[in-house]
């Protein structure tokens, strides 16, 4: 719990991470004196692949895998925080955001922890989208795969004072030094990337004794087993600083699919007055504690539209740091509405975290729509066609008002008023 001791209960800032790294000497080239963590000088920022400090609050950020979403969330997802994706009605588009997050982790050489009760994590990883690389990225990828083994350079002459220092090793194939990448959803991620990545899977049916399936004990211990699994990985691989990481500092990306669904043994989707309505909120509370004290970021998809008791949905939103809701047009009247013909659904930024300050990075763009093209999932500002004729009636214009939800002043709640769009 070194990080927790250094930084308090808040999320990890990049300075805090740097001070933690300063204690375990990971760099081969270190300056002596104030810069290297001496009491008089401030710690230097630690460079972890696929991260960057927030310009607003110095928080260490990772990309969600969707640059447009990063921009809306204030630059990215802060390390130590939890992103909740409220699934669309038929759960078609939310798995894409989940896979983007995991694919970004593989591209940056981060460790992945994938938990699901529906699909085997190995199958989820096989279906990740392929990164779209420019010429520089392709060159870096070739360099990574054609790199000579370290034994070949064993006789390389270096300055005598550095020979006793531990040598830096490359962790996984870091394809690009860029923050955030674009992905082609029509193609699968290269197999060699998957093989060289470090990932852990939690598939609920495999962690359940055959005799217990369907028993009340099983229903209550699904979340418990998952938390124990997380805690074990975080501790043994040194993401909490207690057991220092052997190699270069790395980020743990945690992905949990369909949390709260009946497959996790939770009945909040089946009953309004659930027997164990507190089970999910307890789980999230403990999970957030684990995230706060480790170099990790978490994404959770949840079928919020199925939850019968809306008080539970509110509690889950309160326990999450960032909340993004997807609203699909499939099967609804809006699918045929001419106002929305260019889009596949709306995206609602329901909550943005306030980290190390009293304000949050509230985006000035309120009305957002998404579109799934052949290769890309894009988020755009909702532009309505010009009302040049009487074909668009007043009723269809009013239909837009409830969907264009605005961010509340506190960033956590939604404004209740039905405001018209300003053009």
């Amino acid at each position: 719990m070194a990080a927790a001791a250094t930084c308090g209960a808040g999320t990890l800032s990049s300075e805090c991470v740097a001070s933690e790294a300063g204690q375990s000497r990971t760099s081969s080239f270190q300056r002596r004196g104030k810069a290297s963590g001496a009491p008089g000088g401030g710690p230097r920022l630690l460079s972890i692949a696929g991260t960057r400090p927030s310009v607003r609050n110095g928080q260490l950020l990772v990309s969600t895998g969707l640059p447009a979403l990063d921009q809306l969330l204030g630059g990215g997802l802060a390390v130590g925080t939890l992103l909740l994706i409220e699934e669309d009605k038929y759960n078609i588009y939310s798995p894409l955001l989940f896979k983007y997050f995991l694919a970004e982790g593989i591209v940056n050489g981060h460790t992945l922890l994938v938990a699901s009760a529906k699909e085997n994590p190995a199958n989820i990883l096989q279906e990740l989208p392929a990164p779209l690389l420019d010429d520089n990225g392709k060159k870096e990828l070739e360099d990574v795969h054609s790199a000579k083994p370290p034994e070949a350079d064993a006789n390389m002459k270096i300055a005598w004072r550095y020979q006793l220092q531990p040598r830096m090793e490359q962790v996984g194939p870091v394809l690009s030094s860029r923050f955030g990448h674009y992905y082609d959803v029509s193609r699968r991620i290269p197999q060699e990337l998957l093989e060289s990545s470090n990932w852990h899977g939690f598939f609920l049916p495999e962690h359940t004794p055959p005799g217990l399936k369907g028993e009340p004990c099983f229903l209550s211990c699904g979340y418990m087993k998952l938390l124990q699994f997380f805690q074990n990985i975080i501790y043994t691989e040194g993401f909490d600083g207690a057991n220092p990481q052997k190699k270069q500092k790395n980020i743990l990306r945690i992905g949990i699919q369909n949390l709260g669904s009946p497959l996790w043994g939770d009945d909040i989707c089946c009953k309004e007055n659930s027997d164990n309505h507190h089970r999910l909120t307890k789980f999230l509370y403990i999970l957030r504690g684990l995230l706060r004290s480790s170099l990790s970021a978490c994404i959770i998809t949840m079928p919020a539209q199925l939850v019968q008791n809306k008080a539970i949905t509110t509690r889950v939103r309160n326990l999450s740091d960032t909340v993004v809701g997807l609203e699909s047009f499939i099967g609804s009247e809006r699918e045929t509405n001419p106002l929305y013909k260019d889009y596949h659904g709306l995206i609602h930024i329901r909550k943005i975290p306030r980290l190390n300050n009293l304000t949050c990075d509230e985006s000035d763009v309120k009305d957002l729509a998404f579109k799934l093209k052949r290769k890309l999932f894009t988020i755009e500002r909702l532009h309505l066609p010009p009302d040049l004729s009487d074909t668009v009636g007043r009723s269809s214009r009013q239909d837009l008002a409830p969907s264009t939800t605005l961010l509340g002043t506190g960033c956590s709640g939604m404004t209740g008023g039905k405001k018209r769009l300003d053009f």
């Binding site: 369907g214 009946p262 497959l263 009945d267 089946c270 079928p303 099967g331 699918e335």
Partner: protein, 318 residues
């Protein structure tokens, strides 16, 4: 009685098989949501027939109707490939001594996958509503998912290529919670409704790595459980009218005349409308009377008018 195919049937038959093929294209759970007015057991039997004729082994977990009633209307070639697991006669396993009563339906559901032969397997649940009434929703969802996922459990048969589960759900019997929970597991969702004696099926297909498709088919089910498709919503003229209903003439008891007499028609034709551009008006404008003064425009050049006779482009050497 076998029905002779008409030319109309020959034209429509490929479309009917196309609809059934689209429903049976992928594995996983195919959910048929019906209601009291538009029952879905006929469509369930049509899908079972299609699966059996494709050479698949079909297992039916029957809860709501007897085996004889379910097999009725299906041909001998279909019935030979159909294994009926009867929960209708003894739903709570009372005939088995020492067996826990609630375990009956769940045990039957779990053991179905292990009894199957090699190749693709279709499992029909008639109905999920009955199972939801006897098994907790969470437990049923987990059992359904385990059933529709190939080789999830180590005890599952490794020779099974693909498992397809056809589930009939009477959505009026349940609240939005259980219906939504079961729907979230479905790869294909069919909602039955209709208008004027014609059944419609709204089909939502959620195929992995592809966009979801949403389409509506209008059909009727023939006695041999084959489908007869229709071109969208049928017109009034196509529908069979009930012979007992008396047809009321809509033209009777009107406050105005629909049919004019000969004299009325002549009077109507001879009437000149005041603002109509008639031939008389046209002649008066084209050929004015000589004595009549017409309007003219007089133009007097102003002193400030810039009348420059020179060519402004005269200095250009073109």
């Amino acid at each position: 009685m076998p029905r002779l195919l008409s030319g109309d049937d020959i034209r429509r038959r490929p479309e009917a098989s196309e609809m059934l093929d689209s429903l049976l294209a992928t594995g996983g759970l195919v959910l048929l949501r019906d209601s009291v007015e538009w029952e879905g057991r006929g469509l369930l039997k049509a899908l079972i027939k299609k699966s059996a004729l494709r050479g698949e082994q079909v297992h039916v977990l029957g809860c709501e109707v007897s085996e004889e009633e379910f097999r009725e209307g299906l041909g001998s070639d279909v019935n030979s490939r159909l294994v009926y697991h009867d929960l209708f006669r003894d739903p709570l396993n009372w005939s088995q001594p020492g067996e826990a009563a609630p375990e009956g339906p769940l045990k039957a559901l779990r053991s179905m996958c292990r009894r199957t032969d090699r190749g693709s397997v279709t499992i029909a649940l008639d109905s999920l509503s009955w199972l939801l009434c006897h098994i907790p929703c969470v437990t049923l969802c987990q059992a359904l998912h385990a059933l529709s996922q190939r080789n999830v459990d180590p005890g599952d048969n490794p020779l099974i290529e693909q498992v397809r589960v056809l589930g009939l759900l009477h959505e009026e019997l349940h609240g939005p919670g259980p219906v939504g929970a079961v729907s979230s597991l479905a790869h294909t969702e069919v909602t039955l409704s209709g208008k004027m004696d014609q059944t419609s099926a709204s089909i939502l297909c959620r195929r992995p790595q592809q966009r979801a498709t949403y389409q509506t088919w209008w059909f009727s089910i023939l006695p041999d459980f084959s489908l007869d498709l229709h071109e969208g919503l049928p017109l009034h003229s196509e529908l069979h009218r009930d012979p007992h209903t008396t047809q009321v003439d809509p033209a009777s008891h009107l406050t105005f005349n629909l049919h004019l007499s000969k004299k009325e028609r002549e009077a109507k034709d001879s009437l000149t409308l005041p603002f109509q551009f008639s031939s008389e008006k046209q002649q008066a404008l084209l050929h004015p009377v000589p004595g009549q003064t017409t309007g003219r425009i007089f133009y007097e050049p102003d002193a400030f008018d810039d009348v420059d006779q020179e060519d402004p482009d005269d200095d250009l050497d073109i």
